[in-house]
Symmetry: none
Subunit: 207 residues, 4 copies
DNA sequence: CATGAATGAGACTTCATTCAT
DNA sequence: GATGAATGAAGTCTCATTCAT
């Protein structure tokens, strides 16, 4: 039974410690994205942040908890930002644009976390798994709600809302397989392309 | 330097042996999909096909070669089938429908292989990696060619062909994260939804 | 308890089979000399003679027996030849020259066997070990007898016969570490040098 | 590419750790001498020093590095001692006596290391091999230089210096095959016998 | 005589984790 | 807060050997 002891970075007053934790989480995400959870050894994480292996255990109780913190932080932040940005937008078209922008803004800057979350959700067990699953479910439901409204507004009865939302996330999340901040298109262009393809796909029911 | 010795199942005459290899590849794909390459131990593969660990090494020289055979077979079959199906279709709309159907027909029936190929390409090194990479590049170029024609025909100058192709594969490949043969929608329905969303998205340039 | 079933090559009438056995023994000796007994796998021996692994077991019952045959043949031949050559020589000086020549003649042409016999005597267990040990003891006693006579004739009371014999074999057997049939001195020269150094060392007691 | 990280025992200040390393090297040498490198399992070494298998890997990175450390330490010490002892001796006769004494003093007390170095040089690969090879070459050249002078002084033109040096080492190194500290002659006697046999062998050219 | 296929045993090695300091 | 040293568990792979064909 894992003892979840997630440390809320924002609330803590030990800034030095929490900056260090953030550094560790980021380094771990990079290594886990590059090599997968299993191949991402604690040893490599320690080396990449210039610490001893043993000292890392001050910041997390197990390798699984390290993975949990990465995933939890990612979705917590994503969801909090989304809620805030949606507050003043009410039309479905505007809301879906906010969601897409929020998602891509976050993950273009955190491709490693995106990859880790995509690959390693089911690596978590028990309470860790449930905790992250819950956040993701909430996030998906928000998106689904917007898509439902959008299809209604377009009079589109061909597309199934749930499948359409899944396909949207397919395009959004797939970016971790191809986006390269160095050589790729601008984030803005990539973002616009997906928005455009998706909204057109929805708006005009096939005759 | 890995000595790649891919055995072409179709051409071999040692049926008994090759059927056994196919069984092993399938079992391995299932376990690797469920648990990831690293956690998918040879022991588990052996147990799942009712063989001793050592005897598996009669069929592949290393765990990496096992992964390679899974990926190579998958893309070789996919590509061969596609080439055959495209032979008698010349209009871009028909060709993209063939590609989507071919892709989904294959992977709805081989979700494990899809997941393994998606997650573990870069687990392969050296010649193994290059060999699979080459097949995938060929496959992508075929799709890209069709999308280019499609955009031209639609007079759509907004969408970038390469990004559009990547987004298409985002929707197509993402199915491994949500499709459930037991409880999900029919393959036909899921397939139609993606085709519809994509073709509409392309056809009608945003006003 | 190993069942020693040494096949006497000379007496057998299955020439084809025995030629094959000789080929195998020679190939095995080469590989064992190069890599040591443990690293010299049956697989490598099989490959080097172009046979399947299983078929080798027709010629010996175990890897240890293979090693035994190599060692037994080597010392049996060496000893038989020595006895024959010594028959007509009675003075110690002549007899020691015969022994040195016999030893070097044989081993310059069978360096691999010399190395294997030097390194792997104690790899043999039980009856195998005793059998070879017996031959070697007989061989050593013959040499020791000659050295005793030689020291007596020289009036040399400084040197201990047994130690002197051991030192002689040190020089004789050490050749496997440095003699190279391709680039080294002629066998004749190398042989003369040892004979010269040893006989002078014995003949002239230090002041 | 092995990363050779030889720890100089003498210079380190972590006495506890280095004493432990020395203990391990010694135990490993004994087992490798008794059974050969391949049969000398890490398990046996661990058991013989009362440690877990995994903990040994704190002291070396691979079994091959363990073998390397044994060989490197042996020849480094031997060579350093020789250089020191030769410093104040200039006549060839004295110098060869110093060399013989140094060699035998060291190896009578480290017969296991002598056997391991004799049998397993070529078990080392790449940088490990080159490193030890270099030391041995230096050691041999020192001996050869002395023998050259010695032969010159004796007016002996019969003997080839290189072959003579090789034969000397044959007698010196062969001791690992027969010397028994329990039942054998005194080291002093054994040492004198070799010195005597060799110097006489050289001094009096055969008529 | 020959061999394809199989297997139990056991080797080296790595890893997450702990704990005394 | 930090870390050197240690370890049980487990993984991949190789090997000698067997046996039905």
């Amino acid at each position: 039974m894992p003892d979840i002891s997630y440390r809320n970075l924002a609330e803590s007053r030990h800034l030095r410690t929490d900056e260090r934790l953030a550094t560790i989480l980021h380094a771990a995400a990079r290594i886990m994205a590059d090599e997968g959870y299993e191949r991402a050894t604690i040893r490599k994480v320690a080396a990449s942040v210039g610490a001893s292996i043993a000292s890392l255990y001050y910041y997390f109780n197990s390798k699984e908890e390290l993975l949990y913190q990465i995933q939890y932080c990612t979705f917590k932040t994503l969801l909090d930002n989304l809620d805030e940005s949606l507050e003043n937008v009410s039309d479905p078209d505007g809301r879906i644009r906010v969601l897409i922008r929020n998602h891509l803004d976050h993950f273009f800057r955190n491709l490693n976390e995106l990859k880790v979350c995509s690959h390693e959700l089911e690596t978590l067990k028990g309470a860790y798994y449930e905790s992250v699953k819950e956040l993701r479910k909430t996030y998906f439901r928000t998106a689904l709600g917007i898509v439902v409204d959008l299809l209604k507004d377009s009079g589109n009865t061909t597309l199934d809302p749930k499948l359409t939302t899944l396909n949207l996330f397919g395009m959004l999340d797939w970016i971790y397989t191809w986006y390269d901040p160095e050589t790729g298109p601008s984030e803005r262009k990539a973002s616009n392309q997906i928005t455009c393809l998706f909204l057109n796909g929805i708006r005009s029911p096939s005759r």
